[in-house]
């Protein structure tokens, strides 16, 4: 499959982070086109036609989300860009904002116009302070060139764009916690309904979108929604940024056209070029730490024996029993020397640390799982603990205010589902498990 790039095509041009070079290479065309020749509803219509799905992890159709935005008279509307990228394994937005900040600024202007917002925000993770400076410089250049501020390009449309840093909490990537944080409060997720599309920032209708989703609006407006929908495969339209990490020969951020096979992505010369140091692949987390882990025999093939593709549908094939999710595109590969128990503990530790502590199942459950996994990993667990973990999982999943509870439960549940032998080995061979790793699991002949 030919690999088309829609977002990162110009990323290697020297000086692309400056307005002049970006503009020379076709930048800000979408703003001109939208503001001068389209109505806001036409822009929304193009985004709907494009089939673009939210790139933050949930994969909800962006155009549909936009069309839910309430439009009461006399009430301001807001667009907020979620740049609080903190999922372990995901670093695509950071790359995009660092290398080609004007793409996000351009996307923000076009999207704000489509939604009728006159003030928009980029909520950026506190640890990305250096990117905040990059974005502010880009925004200042856009103001100076008349693409932001009052009466943009003489069309009468006003827009102010503000970058607001968070304090570095993972939970502030949840859209309602993000809004609370943006309002200056403690970043606790809100009860839903009402959804932000009705009551969001300062009680006004708000759309919250991921950096990559907003950037994708630029090629959609430039080339039309239909053209965008022709890239990709089926309902997974367009391109996706994948941040590949772990034991790969060539980790990094790749823009892929959706529909390439997972095998090509891991072993292909254009992509990761296989597993580092000549090792074998043991497992893979295809979409950031919160999606279920896949054992090596389910990474490149689905349970039915078909090729697994880099699409929302194919990665989710088989449900949670034998599939996973595309999520936010944080692709983590593990070689045969990695310990799944240790990795699961590491993820659980992250979620226990990042739980906001508002609702009981997540506050208590994540901490409990972390402690049990800590014991298992350090050779102090027993077989009862494995069942206990499954039970805790079931009691957290679906019972929490926001999806952090699910995100904490899924990786643990999946690790036990596929690597139960390795967990049991940590209990039965306590001393050995402290000195070496379990190695590759064998493919079960009959799937449970």
């Amino acid at each position: 499959m030919k690999n088309r790039k829609l977002l990162l095509e110009n990323v290697h041009i020297p000086g692309i982070e400056t307005f002049d070079i970006y503009r020379k290479n076709g930048g800000y065309r979408s703003v001109e086109k939208a503001l001068k020749s389209m109505t806001p509803d036409e822009v929304v219509e193009e985004v709907k036609k494009s089939g673009l799905r939210g790139r933050g992890g949930a994969g909800f159709p962006t155009g549909l989300k936009w069309s839910f935005l309430a439009k009461p008279e006399g009430v301001p509307r807001y667009l907020v860009c979620n740049a609080d990228e903190s999922e372990p394994g995901t670093f695509k937005d950071r790359y995009l904002m660092e290398k080609i900040p004007h793409l996000l600024v351009e996307g923000m202007i076009t999207s704000s116009f489509a939604l009728g917002a006159n003030t928009s925000y980029i909520y950026i993770r506190g640890e990305f302070m250096y990117i905040l400076h990059i974005l502010e410089k880009a925004i200042a250049e856009a103001y100076a060139n008349g693409f932001l501020g009052k009466n943009i390009l003489g069309t009468g449309y006003d827009l102010d764009l503000v970058v607001a840093p968070g304090g570095g909490a993972y939970i502030c990537g949840e859209e309602t916690a993000l809004l609370e944080s943006l309002e200056g409060k403690r970043g606790n997720p809100r009860m839903k309904p009402p959804f932000p599309a009705v009551k969001g920032l300062w009680g006004c209708p708000t759309v919250v979108n991921n950096v990559e989703s907003i950037a994708a609006v630029v090629p959609i407006v430039n080339d039309g929604g239909d053209a965008y929908a022709q890239t990709g495969l089926g309902k997974s339209t367009g391109t996706k940024l994948i941040s590949a990490g772990g034991n790969l020969v060539r980790p990094g951020v790749y823009e892929i056209e959706m529909g390439i096979t997972v095998e090509e992505f891991i072993y292909g010369d254009d992509y990761c070029r296989g597993i580092a140091n000549g090792k074998k692949l043991k497992a893979c987390v295809p979409g950031g730490s919160s999606v279920p882990i896949l054992p090596h025999y389910l990474v490149t093939k689905t349970l039915a024996g078909e090729d697994r593709l880099m699409t929302y549908e194919s990665l989710a094939d088989g449900g949670f029993a034998s599939g996973s999710m595309l999520g936010s595109g944080g692709f983590i590969a593990f070689d045969e020397d990695q310990c799944i128990v240790r990795n699961t503990w590491n993820f659980a530790r992250f979620y226990a640390h990042e739980s906001c502590g508002q609702c009981s199942p997540c506050r208590e459950g994540t901490g409990w799982m972390e402690k049990v996994l800590n014991r298992l990993e350090h050779g102090q667990g027993n077989l009862r603990d494995i069942t206990l973990l499954e039970e805790i999982n079931k009691k957290i999943e679906g019972n929490t205010i926001c999806p952090l509870g699910d995100a904490a439960a899924w990786p643990v549940a999946a690790a036990i589902r596929h690597f139960r032998d390795e967990f049991e080995w940590h209990v039965k061979e306590r001393e050995v498990s402290q000195t070496r790793n379990y190695g590759l699991i064998t493919q079960p002949s009959v799937e449970a």
């Binding site: 199942p361 506050r363 402690k371 019972n399």
Partner: protein, 320 residues
């Protein structure tokens, strides 16, 4: 008016009513327990997850069941909604899970806790908890601290319901009290342990469902079931002065607000009858109050499972 069915009982309620409040209008066994929701404090609810219920049909217009259990305190009823609480196995199982979570870090020091006998967590544990714990790890602990002269905070016992935070926000004028840290390490605190000084701060004690916030003027004086609650009133320029005084003989041991069967302060003359700190902490002499008569305690508490209620009534009658 719209119709909703909860555990096979049909109820007619105003649109915009939550499932929990609809159930409370019918009363009885179908009412889900609530540890964090407090109808008198807007903004509470949704946090403890003990009031989770199953929605078997969303509404007449869209009769699909809701895939997840929903928090009944923060989900509004729809016309034709069918809700399962007592009758749902899933609810029973998951509520047990929530109670287990609430108890893993709770010290279970009921024998030395002032809240024992009127503790909602005790009731909840009795109804939905299991006799043994599966929690083998060390419990999270904090040192008890004094918030001001009159309130003691035992963070170990706290279930982070945020009710006291809402009291601080809504009833007192200068909020110095809130939640620090996050996750398991979250704690209720006043900003750098500032004393909570406000005429209505004592209501934090009344809204606390557990023994995390207790009355320093009453601590360790007596167990609540040895005291007889009497309705009393006095002229107060700060509050309505309508309270319950808890007596032993002719002596007043403590003063609280008048709580209804759900542990919430009653509405009297269309106003929530919060009491001020002067009434609560300083008026401990029988001559300060006009004592009206015995207060019936309508609670399904652990203590009342046995003889609490009957003994209490008998003793009150004897006094008359």
């Amino acid at each position: 008016m719209i119709k909703v069915t909860i555990d096979d009982i049909e109820i007619e309620v105003e649109p915009g009513t939550s499932i929990l409040n609809a159930a409370r209008q019918a009363g009885g066994e179908i009412v889900p327990p609530a540890m964090c929701y407090y109808s008198k404090l807007p903004g509470t609810g949704g946090k403890c997850r003990t009031c989770l219920v199953e929605v078997a049909a969303g509404s007449t217009a869209d009769p699909r069941p809701m895939p997840k259990l929903v928090a009944s305190c923060s989900t509004n009823v729809m016309d034709g909604m069918i809700v399962k609480n007592k009758t749902s196995e899933r609810v029973h199982e998951n509520r047990g899970g929530v109670v287990e979570f609430l108890l893993i870090n709770h010290p279970l020091d009921c024998p030395v806790c002032d809240q024992a006998g009127e503790c909602h967590l005790q009731d909840l544990g009795y109804e939905h908890g299991s006799a043994e714990t599966r929690y083998e790890e060390e419990r999270r602990t904090f040192e008890p601290i004094d918030i001001g002269d009159t309130i003691k905070l035992h963070m170990n016992r706290c279930i982070l319901c945020y009710r006291c935070v809402e009291v601080a926000k809504q009833l007192t004028d200068k909020r110095v009290h809130g939640v620090l840290s996050r996750g398991e390490h979250s704690e209720i605190s006043t900003y750098i342990e500032n004393a909570v000084e406000s005429d209505f701060s004592g209501n934090m004690i009344d809204v606390c469902p557990v023994g995390a916030l207790t009355d320093r003027t009453f601590r360790f004086k007596s167990r609540v079931w040895f005291l007889k609650p009497m309705e009393a009133e006095r002229n107060c320029d700060k509050c309505a002065g309508k309270s319950v005084v808890w007596m032993f003989g002719k002596e007043i041991y403590r003063v609280t607000g008048r709580k209804d069967q759900y542990g919430e302060i009653e509405t009297i003359d269309n106003k929530t009858a919060w009491i001020c700190n002067e009434c609560r902490f300083e008026k401990k002499d029988a001559s300060d109050w006009n004592i009206i008569g015995p207060r019936s305690i309508n609670r399904h508490s652990v203590i009342s499972q046995g003889k609490y209620k009957t003994n209490m009534t008998r003793r009150i009658k004897k006094l008359d």
